[in-house]
């Protein structure tokens, strides 16, 4: 199971192994699915969730019992849509109504679809889609309506995109790039925020600041687009907008040429900068989440995204391979993303600083990247200030008082201490004298002898002294 290569790797990277063990041993899900109470159709739904999603299945299944089913079904519905959109064996005329009317299938008891090509990896889900439909019908109306609304919007968006002539040459402008990210990620975010607010797991104020939700989706999607540039190139797809890459190369395929590495890296820096701009709003969004399992659900992908951005930044490997954050780092990030906002902020700051450290002064966007990292740090300061003006003022005042005290107050203080000392000793001696202490006898003897002895009249003084000191 453990290859020699990975054994050697972990021997030299013990922290990676430590994080993995920590996560496996200590991670306690806030909630776990109760499979004994599930209907068979719901169990099937989770079966398909595990089949179709690699990263999301686990976090979804740790959601609280109220959010668990709606979000799992929401995911499956979108996955179903995506499976139709992705399938190049379905011709456009068939595809368009399928996408636009997909929401109707959600209400059609027993609806299934077996028109996918044999190679489509999630075709099983659509063949058995009736289980999803059955479970959708059991949802609270509030939740169902949100899922339906997003399905309509996304189906239309995909249909427009699939048929739109303007996209034949790929994404041109930054506006088109962001529009694309909106359809594939921003809309999902919108649905999730509405579900969280409907269930009272998030601050309703998030509904008035939908740009925060949009940033959550944009940040994740843009990060993936930067990371997957080579994989997409092999699949003959391109998501980097021409408005950005055309500043560095004339033809898109040139960006992968080893001789153009410096230009390609500068281009990727601009893409990273474009993604990084959303990071502070993502933190702001997470401040609006009210429940732990929902917080974990939204925070894990975000932490992974900032770590991925750091990994791809100034990294020439993205142009010839598919890179990923290590398992150890992923476990560490999951540990940090399942605590609270403060810990997630620390993670963001750590990666922002690492990005800044990798920043190259020769890069055309050098200072802008530095300021994007600074913006993240500054935003974290507004959430969790490290300085308190009142305390700063108090420290200043205290210093002023110290200055005033010196030196007279010091003298007065010492004088007062001496006075009290004299007063107390005077009292004690006075009381002792009043009770009949013979000071006169003591003084008479002490003046003539080096120390006060138990019996001053004894002649063997020297011996007593030596013993007395023992």
């Amino acid at each position: 199971m453990v290859s020699a290569k990975s054994a050697i790797y972990y021997a030299f990277h013990p922290n990676q192994l430590r994080s993995m063990i920590q996560w496996k041993v200590w991670h306690e899900p806030v909630h776990t699915r109760d499979q004994s109470k599930e209907a068979p159709t719901l169990t099937s739904c989770f079966h398909f969730l595990n089949l179709t999603s690699r990263s999301f299945a686990a976090v979804i299944q740790e959601l609280n019992s109220d959010m668990l089913v709606p979000i799992a079904l929401f995911y499956l519905v979108l996955r179903g849509l995506d499976t139709i959109e992705d399938d190049m064996t379905i011709d456009a005329d068939t595809k368009e109504p399928l996408l636009r009317d997909f929401y109707k299938n959600m209400r059609t008891e027993g609806w299934t679809f077996n028109g996918n090509g044999p190679m489509e990896k999630d075709r099983e889900l659509l063949i058995h889609f009736d289980v999803v439909v059955a479970e959708l019908q059991k949802l609270k109306k509030g939740y169902y309506d949100i899922i339906e609304d997003i399905t309509i919007k996304m189906g239309n968006g995909m249909a427009d995109y699939a048929l739109g002539a303007e996209h034949k040459d790929g994404i041109e402008t930054i506006a088109q790039y962001e529009e694309y990210c909106h359809y594939v990620a921003g809309l999902v975010g919108e649905g999730l925020t509405r579900l969280f607010v409907e269930g009272n797991y998030a601050n309703p104020a998030l509904m008035d600041r939908m740009e925060l939700t949009e940033s959550m989706g944009q940040f994740l999607q843009k990060t993936n687009i930067v990371r997957d540039v080579h994989e997409d190139f092999l699949d003959k797809r391109r998501f980097w907008p021409k408005a950005i890459w055309s500043k560095y190369v004339d033809k898109w395929e040139d960006i992968f040429e080893p001789k153009n590495r410096t230009l390609a890296l500068q281009c990727s820096s601009e893409m990273v900068l474009n993604a990084l701009k959303h990071a502070d709003e993502c933190l702001f969004y997470m401040a609006g989440i009210r429940e732990q399992s929902v917080f974990n659900f939204v925070a894990i992908p975000q932490s992974m995204a900032i770590a991925t951005l750091e990994l791809v930044f100034q990294n020439p490997k993205i142009f010839d391979s598919h890179i990923k954050i290590t398992k150890g780092d992923a476990c560490q990030l999951m540990i940090e993303s399942t605590q609270n906002l403060r810990v997630v902020c620390d993670t963001f700051r750590r990666y922002a600083r690492r990005i800044a450290k990798k920043n190259d002064p020769r890069d055309p966007h050098y200072l802008e990247i530095s300021s994007a990292c600074g913006k993240i740090e500054q935003f974290i300061e507004t959430l969790f200030p490290s300085q308190d003006p009142k305390k700063v003022a108090l420290v200043q005042d205290a210093k002023k008082d110290e200055d005033k005290m010196d030196p007279w107050e010091g003298f007065i203080l010492i004088g007062a201490a001496i006075l009290v000392l004299l007063l107390v000793s005077g009292l004690m001696i006075g009381v002792a004298w009043a009770f009949g202490a013979r000071f006169d006898a003591m003084f008479d003897k002490t003046w003539t002898q080096p120390s006060v002895l138990p019996d001053p009249s004894t002649p063997t003084t020297m011996a007593s002294v030596t013993h007395g000191e023992l």
């Binding site: 002064p361 020769r362 050098y366 802008e368 990292c373 600074g374 740090e377 500054q378």
Partner: protein, 380 residues
Amino acid sequence: MATTTTKPPSNHTALGRVLIIGGCGFLGHHVVSLLLRDWQAQISVIDLRCERNRRPASDGVSYHEADITDADNLLKLFGKIQPDVVIHTASPPAQGGSAVSDALFQKVNVEGTRAVVAACRGAGVKALVFTSSASIMSDNKNDLVNANETWPVIRGKEQTEYYSETKAAAEELVLAANRAEDGAGLLTVSIRPAGIFGEGDVQNVYHLVNIYKQGRTNVQVGNNENLFDFTYVENIAHAHLLAARALLVTSQSQTTPLDYERVDGEAFIVTNGEPVYFWDYARAIWAAAGSDKGTAHVWTLGREMGMVLGLMSELVFAALQKPPTFNRQRIAYSCMTRYYDITKARRRLGYKPLVSLSDGVRKTVKWTLEAQQEAVGGKL
């Protein structure tokens, strides 16, 4: 409405008769230029000498040579100009340290400002905008992290920079004159810029470009995780004019503004709103000046080590009886976090930087290189 793309929404608002004190200085002449570009005003300038940074006669700016510490003369001049708005930018450059410049700071910054306030009252000026400094909030030792106007002003013994002490005293005088009972309706405001740079600056960027020319870009003190605010001069000029407009609007309105929207009697921190890591700013300047180096050649010194070297440099130069090129205060600055929160200026002045930090750096370095070239050409 069709000259540049970076125009504020407020462009070509009338400000009446505007007098810029120190209008031939670094910040002052940018205020004049911006007034000409974006606003409507009859512009007058008072400066000690008016040859440098002077606008061509076709711009219609009237120049007056005067010493602001001569209160009687200043009042007479104000009577002639009859300004509605006074923008007081005059101050000796911040770098000093000897007893002579301390006396000059006291004379110009405090006594000069006192005379300006008195002249404003005497001449029935409506609005006085004073250029203060964000450095009055720093004790030059401790960090300032996202500080806003609620942070205390550091005075007296705790304020180790005498320049900042006099700026703080002057700000106090200016703000105390706002709505003063005998003030004839004068409204005042104070702008506190942080880390000013731009064309015409012969300190900040000039110094950094020289470090590059001398090939000394290979040392970094501290871990460069300290954020610092630097502000392009045009943005600061813009904030001054927005503040002037706000005061004029207030002086025309019948009611006093609510606390959370008032501008008169208030201080505003103004930056580019883009704090960056300290050495990144220096490296951006070096790159713009032509450096083809990344960071591989950089040798990082710890702060403590830097302080020891700074002390040694101070001692050596003291023995040579020359000002040190490199001292402990410089080392401390390069390791200090010092950036501000400008929400108050954004909300109450409607301030938004006109020029981004990176554009500002590019423009300034270009100007600096040309200026140095000219200086060399002049010598030949």
